[in-house]
Structures are given as C-alpha cells and as structure tokens.
C-alpha cells in the first residue's frame, strides 16, 4: 500500500520487539464474536491512474459548471476567487496542520486568525470576532443559543426573510431547550416591522434579522435594533452575503449586539454548498458566552509578540457539558482563505466589488422589467432581487440552454410566491452577459 511505509519485514521485526508472534496477539481484547467475518464488501483497490480516471468520469456527469454562470445565489455566491488565495491554502503548512493547540509551532495559523478577526471587526465594528463557526446557518443557531443564555428568556423572534436553511438549523438547535420561535412575516420584500412590534415582549431573548435578507432586501437594522432594545431583547443581525459589508454600515453602528455571518463570499468556492465559513461577533461584554475559538495577542517569554487561542475556559475540552458550545473542529482553513482574500482586495477593492455587485443586479432588474414580462416588487436590495414570471419553466430551460444556471424558484420555500424567482448577479457577470440574459428571457 503506497501510503504505508513499513515493509512486511519491518512489521515482523516490530512485532518481535513487542513480544507478539503475529498481529493477532495484539487483538486479543476483541471477542471473536465481534470480529468481521471475512472481508468487507468494497470495490477492488484502484491505482492512482485508475482512481483519477474514475473520478474525472463521474465529474463529467455534472454540467461543466465553470461555463455556467449562476443567476442563483441564495446563500451560495459565485464571486471571483483569486488564484493567489488558492495557492495560499494549498500550502501544506496550512492545510495539513492540526488545531493550534501548540502555539509555538502554530503562529502561522494563529496570526492569520488574529488578522482575520481584525478584518471582520473592521467590517462589522464589533469587538469580539469568532473567526470560524461551520457556516452561516450554524452561526445563526449559535447566536440564538447565546442570546438565550445571556437573557435567561425563552423566546426568539425570527424574520421569515432569514435564509430558510438557517431558520431550519436554528429550529433544530433550539428545539431541545423549550424555546418558543416566533416567525415574523414579510411585506414588500422586507421584514414587516409592524408585525415585529406586535410580537415582541419582555420574554423575548432575541430579535434575529437577516440583512441583506433572503430576497436581497436591505433592512432598516437601526430601527429594528431600537425596537428590540426597548423590550430588553438582544439584537442579532444575520449576514449571508458578506460582500455587502464592503458598502453597508457596520452592524455595530446600528446597535447590533451579535452578528452571525457567512464569509463564503470572501475567497471560497461554492463547492456544492460547503465547506463555507461562519463567523460570530459580539460586544466585548458578551465574550464569556460566545462559542468557538478566538486568537489573542500576547508575548512569549522573551517579550516578543505572539498569538494564542484565548478565553479557552468557554470550550468543550475544558468545560465539558458546561461549555458554551460543543464546537471543536471548525472551518479553520477557510479563515486563511478569508484573510488572504480580504488582504488582496483591501480597502478599495472590497468597496468596488460590492458596488459592482449592486450595479449589476440593478441593471439586470431594470433590463428584465423593460421587457414587460415580469412583475415587480419594489424594495432596496444589494445583489439579489425577486421578480415574478408567468412562465418559469420556459425561463429555466432557456437559461440552461444558454449556459446560465437559473435563478431560485421561490415557491420551493415560500409556496405563496408561485412564479417568483430570486435573481443574483455578482462581479462575474459583465454588462454584456446581462444584456444577453435580458435577451434570452426577456426578448
């Protein structure tokens, strides 16, 4: 076996040294009745060339997706992933290392965590950044649990315009804790604030709102924070499309207490939906209730700057059932990707890319409306918007035929929205692309 260096002779020599006559001697604790009889029923082993051929062939059963630009985002956004990011995360020192429990030989990861925490802090204005929770959905669920612990209340208010998968995940996570989840309906593409006012009370632990919301709509977070705080609830902003932070206000400036975000747009490929990288931010006063690993600056014995994992007393390996979460492995390599991405695009780039996204989406929407074949709902949006068509099947078919992945059919998640499609455009679409899309489905 090419991955096992020891030869048969070496193994025999080692067994002799151990004092065993064969490997069977080492398996004596395992009762015969518990053993596998014969061999596992698995395919015969393949050489490297064979396995390569096999997987290439299987991959051909997918479309050649590089050539199909997706008009669907809905929590998974195809942005440009610079090759420099891919080169960096392909370095063995990053991808084959373990969790940085031994900081003296893990400064690469730890400093990278610290830099990334700084990036996210500057984008959100928040003091504390947990750089990796598995994804935006589990980060949202963890934010809800955190708010329940902080307030000792048992009700959370959740906008229906939070990504449906995030809401489902939140429900799964809070279900064992006798939590009441109240969903607030939407109105004209945004969360219905009047309905929120009706639902909120002193028993409310958190108000959880996504912005940009699932329809791409930009919520008035400041206004909602005020309503939440008047009832003593914690304000949680969910951000599924973090590219929006290039342009939109820092959540901290809108009095948000906890941010649960998804950083996939920062240097991560779509990969059929994962692995992405969630993040969780809070004000400093909540740090002891936040879950997940955090890097902090300190000094070594010679007084030189160095980084360690810090506030470890929150974590499962120390606190066991009293930990703030069970999270152990996270999506650490994607912290490196996110750090490399945000460093590359930098101060000017992120803003320009975000602006491009906004303009591309607005341009597509105006072109489609010009065709007269779509019904509109007006609300402010980032890079996603919804329109209604009378002929969604032919729209989907035409787009696939012309190498575009169709927008999301919203009736999958909102049965009342039959005919509504959720469109997304990013910087991978040129103006010419959009003109031709308008031709294909509007012409």
């Amino acid at each position: 076996m090419r991955y096992i260096p020891n030869t048969k002779e070496q193994k025999e020599e080692m067994l002799k040294e151990i004092g065993a006559s064969s490997v069977e001697d080492l398996l004596k604790d395992i009762p015969a009745s518990a053993r596998v009889k014969g061999k596992l029923n698995l395919p015969s082993p393949l050489s490297e060339e064979e396995v390569k051929e096999k997987i290439y062939n299987i991959s051909k059963k997918n479309l050649d997706f590089f050539f199909y630009k997706p008009l669907v985002g809905a929590g998974a956004y195809r942005h440009t992933v610079p090759e420099a990011v891919k080169a960096i995360i392909s370095r063995e020192e990053f991808y084959t290392s373990y969790t940085p429990y031994q900081p003296e030989i893990s400064q690469g990861n730890l400093q990278s965590m610290f830099e990334y925490q700084t990036h996210i802090s500057r984008l959100t204005g928040m003091d504390v950044v947990v750089p990796s929770i598995y994804d935006g959905a589990s980060a949202t669920a963890e934010a809800a649990l955190m708010a329940l612990r902080l307030t000792h209340k048992n009700k959370v208010i959740v906008s229906q315009l939070i990504h449906p998968h995030y809401r489902e995940t939140l429900n799964t996570y809070v279900e064992p804790h006798d939590t009441k989840v109240v969903e607030i309906p939407y109105k004209n593409g945004l969360t219905d604030i009047e309905k929120l006012k009706d639902s909120i009370d002193n028993e409310t632990a958190a108000v959880i709102i996504q912005s940009p919301n699932f329809f791409g709509g930009i919520e008035d977070i400041e206004k909602i924070s005020k309503i939440a705080h008047e009832s003593g609830a914690i304000m949680v902003q969910v951000i599924a499309e973090s590219m929006s932070l290039g342009l939109l206000k820092q959540p901290a400036k809108m009095d948000v207490d906890i941010v649960a975000g998804e950083a996939q747009s920062f240097g991560m490929d779509i990969n059929f939906g994962g692995p992405f990288n969630g993040y969780l931010c809070s004000k400093m006063k909540f740090i002891r209730q936040i879950p997940g690993r955090i890097a902090g600056e300190t000094v070594d014995k010679n007084g030189n700057r160095g980084f360690v994992m810090t506030f470890r007393a929150r974590e499962q390996d120390i606190r066991r059932e009293k930990a703030t979460s069970n999270i152990c492995s996270n999506h650490a390599l994607n912290i490196v990707a996110g750090n490399a991405y945000l460093s590359l695009v930098g101060k000017q780039g992120l803003k320009k890319i975000a602006e491009y996204n906004v303009k591309a989406a607005h341009y597509l929407r105006s072109k489609l409306l010009e065709s007269g074949k779509f019904e509109q709902i007006d609300y402010p949006f980032f890079n996603e918007f919804i329109l209604k068509t009378d002929n969604k099947d032919s729209l989907k078919e035409k787009l696939i035929k012309n190498n575009f992945i169709p927008p999301l059919d919203l009736s999958l998640f909102y049965p009342e929205l039959e005919g509504f499609m959720l469109f997304c455009t990013t910087e991978i679409f040129s103006k010419d692309d959009i003109d031709s899309i308008a031709q294909i489905i509007g012409g």
Binding site: N62, Y134, N271, G273, G346, H362
Partner: protein, 485 residues
Amino acid sequence: MKLIYEKSVKGRGGFSLKEDNFPYKDISSLIPNYALSEEEKALPEVSEVDVIRHFTKLSKLNYGLDDGMYPLGSCTMKYNPKINEKLASLDNFVYAHPFTDQRYVQGSLQIMYELSEMLSEITGMDKFSLMPAAGAHGELTGVLIIRKFFKDKGEKRSKILIPDSAHGTNPASSAMAGFKVVEVPSNERGGIDIEKLNELMDEDTAGLMLTNPNTVGLFDENIEKIAEIVHSKGGLLYYDGANLNALLGIVRPGDTGFDVVHLNLHKTFSTPHGGGGPGAGAVGVKRELKEFLPSPIVGMSNGEYIFEYPTKSIGRVRAFYTNFPVIVKAYVWIMSLGSDGLREVAETSIINANYILKKLKRYYKPAYDRTCMHECVLTGREYKEFGVKTLDIAKRIMDYGFHPPTIYFPHFQPYAEETIMIEPTESESKETIDSFIETMIKISEEAKTNPELLKEAPHNTPVGRLDEVRAVRNPKLVFKGDNDK
C-alpha cells in the same frame, strides 16, 4: 513577524475587476441612506506580491503533517494523499451550485451516495447522513436523533451516560441536545465499570456514548455486555468514531450493538485537518433510526441519484448538504485502498502504537500496562519530582522537530493523570518512529539531569513559550493600530 496591516501602503491593492460600464454614476441612488456606510472599511492595502510573501512567511511558522511526525493521540494525523486534493478540486465539483436542478449534479450526488454506502459497509450501519461538518457536529446530530427517537415513541428520557474517559465534545454535545450528563467511571483495566453501568442505566436514560477503542487506546472487551445492558433498559448505544482507525476491516461498530455512529472523515479517512477544519462528521444509523436523519439524504431511484427527505427528520444542522470536497477525498481514499488496504491500515497502526508503548514504557509509565490498539497513553508523572511537568516534556519535543503528542487528555483519576497520548498512525515508518522514541528517551534523561532545559523549552521554535494568562487578563483580540505603519 509583522501583521498584514503593518505592511499596508495607501493606494495599493491586489485585486482585479471587470470594467464597470453600467449606467449608474452614484451608488447612493441605489442604496438607501439608512444602510450606506459613511466611510470606507479600513482593510489593509497591499499588492498580490505582498500577500503571497506574507502568507508564505506565515506558513513557515506552522508545523504541518508533511513536515514530520504528528503523533497527536485521538487525532489520527495520518498522511493526506495528494491525489485526493487534486480530485476534490475538479471544476465540475467546485463550481456546482447547491440550488442546481438534480439532473445536472448527478456526479456530485453519485459521490455522496456511493460514499454513504461504503461507510455503511465499513461500519455495519444501514444509512448515513453526510451533512455534519465536523466530529462534534456529528455527535450533536446523533444525539438529537436519539432524542427524537424517544420523543416519537412518547418516552421522555432525560439522561445520557458518558464515560469519564470521553472527549469533552461528548458531554458538550449531549448538553446541547438537552440531556443531563451522567458520568460512568472507568475500571482498573481501562474499560467501562460494568457494575456502575448496571446501576446507572435505567429507563430515564437515553443511552451511552462510547468511543471504542476508547481514549486510553483500549478496546473495551466487554462491549457485548455493555450493549446488552444499555439495550435491556430500552436505551441506545452511540459510537464516537474518533478512533475507528484501529478497527477498519476488523470490527464493525454496527455488529457490536451500536445504534448510531459518527465518523471523523478527517481522521480515519485521510482528509486533512486544515489547521482545525474543515473536516466532516458523517452520521450512520441502524434501519429503525433512518427516518430521523437530517434532511435531505441522497438516495437512488430508477438509476438516478435523488434527494430523499426522511419523514421524522431532526431537521437541518447546517445550510445545504455536506462539506463536499471532504467527501470526495474520503471516497478517493477508500477507492485507493479497498478492503485489504483498510485492514492493513488498522493493523499497521496497532503495531506502531504497541511498538512505541513497548519501547517507552520504562521511561513513561503507561496509564494501563496492557496491549493497546492504535494509540498508547503514557504519563509524565515520574518527572514531577524533578519539577518537570508533562507540558514541559511536550514543549521540549518540538525542539527535536516533532509535533508533541496530545497531553493532559484523557484526564481522570486515579489512572489517567499527566497523560501523554501517542498515536503514530499507519503513516510513520519504523525509522521515524525509532527516532521519535530515541528523542523521548533523551528527554526523559534531560528531565532528570537538566530540568531547566525542559522548563524553558521550546528553544528552537519561531517564538518561545507564550503567556496565555496575559492574553486573557489584557485581551487583545484585534489589531487596533492604524494602517500604513
């Protein structure tokens, strides 16, 4: 080393963008005032060259598996084959959007389906979900399945049993799933104390979470008895697959009475740890629990791969479906090894661990002096009298070019204190292992003759021992300085 912010130069950038020829001059006409940021976010300003040099330099401060032996117990730091990485990065997988019609992602679904089937065969379970993103995420999923199973039967069971040798994630996951955790002590042979188990297991207990081989590296010889006790009270047996490497092709958890298992594909199945993830925590169940799996799972109908929606599902535990590239890597690894290869992995890992145990037990007293499985648990207790802690021993190991083993885990009295848990995996050669053993012996001598050398260690690393207390007392979690310094 400087932070990326300390390398920032005003006006620099490392990105490229298509020409913006849309008919909008001012972004403020498109974004409402209440939401538009008044200032630019103060990210660094650096070129692509700066970024590549910065991260290359950072990477050299890290110790990776390709740099040398990484004997972290219970972490299974085995070699990550390069072909796995290549095949997981094929364009048709990488650019597949999760909301694409199933007809167009048959390749992705085939990999998911076939990996699930192979994992079922390897573990003796009936159906797998590939949704959980990590081991602990798999535990939470598995325990929620147990919870829902009882709820569905109209039973309310409030407790779950967990051995004192268990990973911290076990009690943490159980608490998250709403269970009260009850600890079961280990016996003098390192297994579950059967009498205690008998006392504790009752009809208010949902089951037992067990790692087998356990975290002291021992196969619990009473496994069948344990299963009988748990099942006799209507409970379910949960298998923490962190240590499955020792059992590949030898024992299938499903055949020894386990009802739910989670596997760490980033341990046993060779996918890289990524500095702490992403991995994947596949969860497998017996037939009667299939309908409780997270939704959706991949099935097959008329030769086509399809999503199926279990009827009593616990729901979702994340967005979308799986950590797809991790799935590809595990699939490629199993395909490359086959049945005989998997068994050879287990046997080799067991030989390697016992060889280390045999050679080192004179110098570091084992927690239990017995034949071990894929890892051995030694202790540094004897060096306390020289003022040397296990931590000091671990730090000194770095000076010799190895990653230290897991230390202070497992931790329970009276057997497992000052522990040094060594898992060589099948990937290390006899020469490397011999050199590691020599190093450990040398350090044991240094501990007696020159304890200061250990207490001051490490000496040859990019930074010296770091002040963790200061990091909490004076928290600096982000860089507060200005750019362009």
